[in-house]
Amino acid sequence: MDGATPRAIRRDQPERSRLLLGHRTRVVVAVSFAIVATVFAGCSGGGSSDSSSTSSTAAPAAKTNLAVPMGEVVADSAGPPAQFTPEQSQAVMKVVTDYLAVATVFPLRTAKPVGDLSGLFDAGALAAATGVDRPVVLDEGLPKVTGVLDVVGQPVRIVALADQNGGIVLATATLDLDIQGATKVPGSPLRILRRGDLVLAPDAGGAWKVTGYNLAVARAGAGLDPTTTTAAVGATPQSAKGTR
């Protein structure tokens, strides 16, 4: 008798009520699973779980967002008023974006050393950038970014300098970059902040190249050790201490 009671009670409940309860249950369960699925999907982008990428066989290449727009462009002259043309501004911006592609995106995506930079740096700057300043100027030796890679920045401010005849001799490009990407290193995504100036000048052939730089970089996440280094190009070699 007692054993039949629930069934009897259930039978006594209006059919509509039973159907409604079942529907609510299904909705709540579905929503809860959706939340959990969403959360874990979000977690997988953080690079904290290898298991989340087990279905990588057919996964498309992870997206790289390189969004560093040109900002204010001004020219100051030691002689008559000068103008920095849109073509010159674009040429400077191309060097900047090429630098980001070569020095940041490539090594982070491939975990390989940066290749030839002679098209972007003049000889003096190249020697320093690929020598004592390599850990600062290039994003090598860091965990490979396997998820979305965001290279975003404030608009690049360009200030050009003209000589006493009004001819443009160089320009500075101010960078304020925030680079983030998910790696397979558990814990946290890689984040790089890079700020400072590039100094660019046209070479003998008219191609704009980096002739100097004043950069500060901070890296965090992806299991990086919190060690610090300072390097000053042109100063005594002893002033450069350690690497990443």
Partner: protein, 314 residues
């Protein structure tokens, strides 16, 4: 408990558990995101690097070099508009820079110092108008033994405008100054000079018993103070462009272009003013007429200076 109750409790547990789990995970993820999303991540690794261009333009970056800084009394670069002064150089300073030591020395040359052909050193800039700066540099090199690579010259109005466009100079005035000729009226101590005041400070020789000797030392002090003032503003690359453009508009250059001057300026801004010595060339009244001649102390000082562009033993 009834079977139906147990089933409801089971269903509830099935529903609530994933929700709690999801909220927990979402909270952890949010916390991590916030931690990493801060502008300067905790435990961040900071690097700083400065590419200094000055040394690249002298052949070998670590080699010492010498700059001649000249201030003339010309009221204009057009002699017809400068009746009060033909452009005599009453400010003559050899700046030695040693990049490897990250140090510099300023040797202040009194204007009456006898030059290689018996004239006062301040007149060599006007004796050969077609080659004024290089002729002046050659004369100063003869006196000091320093091979001068670059010359920078400024006249009165350019000096005033340049200082004003720079935003003035913070300086610690070493001694009271009260000179009606130059207009220098200053109490000792820290003060901020605008262009006119900086010119007065640089011109005053009547407030001191040794006249031009203290004046030339003060001029060297003003150079160091100007550097310190600019450094304190922590200029960006763009700021340095503006400074160099200002400098270029108000100076005449020899041996260096504006582009190179930019790199030299960037390098100068890395120098610690405390690592810049300011020393007056030892001279005495043993020259022809009112000329001053180098004293015996000058030889060892200049030897110390010219060997690596900075003084170590003086």
């Amino acid at each position: 408990m009834t079977r139906q109750g147990r089933r409801r409790r089971a269903v509830a547990a099935l529903v609530v558990s994933p929700l709690l789990c999801g909220i927990l995970v979402a909270g952890l993820v949010s916390a991590a995101w916030l931690a990493l999303g801060s502008p300067q991540p905790a435990g961040a690794t900071w690097f700083q690097v400065t590419k200094l261009g000055s040394a690249r333009f002298i052949g070998q970056p670590d080699q010492p070099f010498f700059v001649l800084a000249v201030g003339t009394g010309a009221r204009s670069d057009d002699p017809n508009e400068s009746h009060d002064d033909p452009g005599l150089a009453d400010a003559v300073h050899v700046i030695g820079v040693n990049p490897a030591l990250n140090a510099a020395t300023i040797i202040d040359i009194p204007r009456d110092t006898e030059g290689p052909t018996g004239q006062k050193i301040n007149s060599y800039i006007v004796s050969n108008p077609e080659n004024d700066l290089r002729g002046m540099a050659d004369a100063v090199s003869d006196v000091t033994g320093a091979p001068i690579s670059y010359v920078i010259r400024v006249n009165f109005p350019n000096f005033v405008q340049m200082i004003d466009e720079m935003g003035g100079v913070d300086i610690d005035i070493p001694a009271p100054m009260n000179d009606e000729f130059s207009g220098a009226v200053f109490d000792p101590g820290p003060t901020h000079l605008n262009g006119d005041q900086a010119l007065s400070f640089s011109r005053d020789r009547h407030s001191f018993t040794n006249g031009d000797l203290t004046r030339t030392s003060n001029q060297g002090l003003l150079l160091i103070s100007a550097l310190a003032t600019l450094k304190a503003r922590n200029p960006s690359g763009g700021d340095t462009v503006r400074l160099i453009a200002t400098l270029g508009r108000h100076t005449k250059l020899d041996g260096i272009g504006v582009g190179e001057l930019f790199h030299l300026g960037e390098y100068a801004l890395t120098l610690d003013p405390a690592n810049i010595k300011n020393v007056v060339l030892p001279v005495g009244n043993s020259g022809n007429g009112t000329n001053l001649a180098k004293t015996g102390d000058a030889a060892s000082l200049l030897a110390d200076f010219t060997d690596d562009a900075v003084l170590q033993n003086h």
